[in-house]
Subunit: 213 residues, 2 copies
DNA sequence: GGTATCGGATACCGCCCGGTATCCGCCCCC
DNA sequence: GGGGGCGGATACCGGGCGGTATCCGATACC
């Protein structure tokens, strides 16, 4: 995977556009940091994973901290978009949508181990620094607000009465997404595929009926 | 806090019993690792927090990895006991118990930031090594099984029909405990005090009625 | 096509940490 | 109460990492 420039026979070497280098470094950082930990991965590791050297990192991001900051911006934004897109399916009833969203998020947690690992690491950093204006925390708050808004809109559109405030539902959705991913990564058998969907349906007042899907 | 032996005026120095040293080191490790990260904290840091030096750590645990392993054993066992004790209140109805448990777990998450931080770090290590027989993973599985058993017993005793299998309820309980603690640590306002209790009540079929407590 | 510039490569520095070898003094037991 | 052994303290080593100064070559512009 990821054939860097140095993979070529040292002959026809082309210098890739700067944006391309940036992207490659960010992607490599996401993978490498997720797998080895932010502190556990050296800049040499990250750069090598992208097919470059440390020099490229310092040229583009100034420092390791700068790389992490850029990564937060890049990835949390992407996650927010993904989350909103997943909810924007204007079909079917509210519980049905809840179940569909749950299934999709469950599947995503299987495919995106890296993202959850990275998310938790960024969260840890934010908590440890104690800075409430941490950019990761801020972006995460935006995500929660966006989800809450979406939940409220869908409920109103369906004319349904939520058993809990929309804001709480949003919080629970995020908490379950993380919490269940955690359980599933260490013991997949403990988290049935449809569990997330069932609970989400419960949260919007739809019951869980053994198999009414 | 934690007045180590060296705090004395260098005169009346007594050698503490070995078990005492072990305990002090384990406690200091839990605090220090939680706050600075397992890799971020040096053995000097840990030993100093307990009022000793690195030599004591190597004498008692052989290596940093040995200290971490001992910590896993120590802390996960304690957590399992705490969890079981919290559920063993033979009073009131099932939803009432669920709400009480939720309140208690929420309060605990406020007081035990360190434990959640440490838990997540240990979990990350287990996931990254990929060892399914990791002792942390095994102990966590035991915890889940114990919770599932307790849930089933309580439900049967109350003659209630659970909307989800007891095992799933147990998984959800753990997931919510972690997930909500995560949300609460970065933004306390986003997680109302009674949210956990309400959801747990929902999970055991008790509804959430705005304030029937 | 020649040249100036910018960006990534390379070599190097200093710090810090895990680990180890060794030392020293408090406990325990006879 | 005296001596031996154990347990913690101390000093030191080696490796690895973030960061930096410098080099070199490709790109783009005239």
């Amino acid at each position: 995977m990821s054939t860097g420039p140095t993979a070529l026979p040292a002959a026809a070497r082309r210098r890739p556009p700067r944006d391309e280098v940036r992207r490659a470094l960010l992607d490599a950082a996401a993978r490498t940091f997720a797998r080895q930990g932010i502190d556990g991965a050296s800049l040499d590791d990250v750069a090598a994973a992208a097919g470059f050297t440390k020099g490229a990192v310092y040229s583009n991001f100034g420092s390791k901290e700068g790389l992490v900051a850029a990564l937060v911006d890049d990835r949390v934004s992407a996650y927010l978009d993904l989350g909103l897109a997943a909810v924007d399916d204007p079909a079917a009833t509210l519980p049905e949508r809840a179940r569909a969203l749950g299934d999709r998020l469950t599947a995503a947690s299987d495919e995106q181990h890296d993202w959850h690992l990275l998310f938790l690491e960024l969260w840890q950093r934010a908590v440890r620094t104690g800075r409430t204006d941490d950019s990761f925390v801020r972006r995460h708050g935006e995500l929660r607000a966006a989800v809450a808004e979406a939940v409220a809109a869908h409920a109103e559109q369906a004319g349904a009465e939520l058993p809990l405030p929309a804001a709480s539902v949003a919080t629970l959705l995020l908490a379950l997404s993380n919490g269940l991913a955690i359980e599933r990564m260490t013991d997949p058998a403990a988290v049935p595929d449809d569990l997330m969907g069932r609970v989400l349906a419960l949260l919007v007042g739809g019951g869980t009926g053994p198999d009414q899907r």
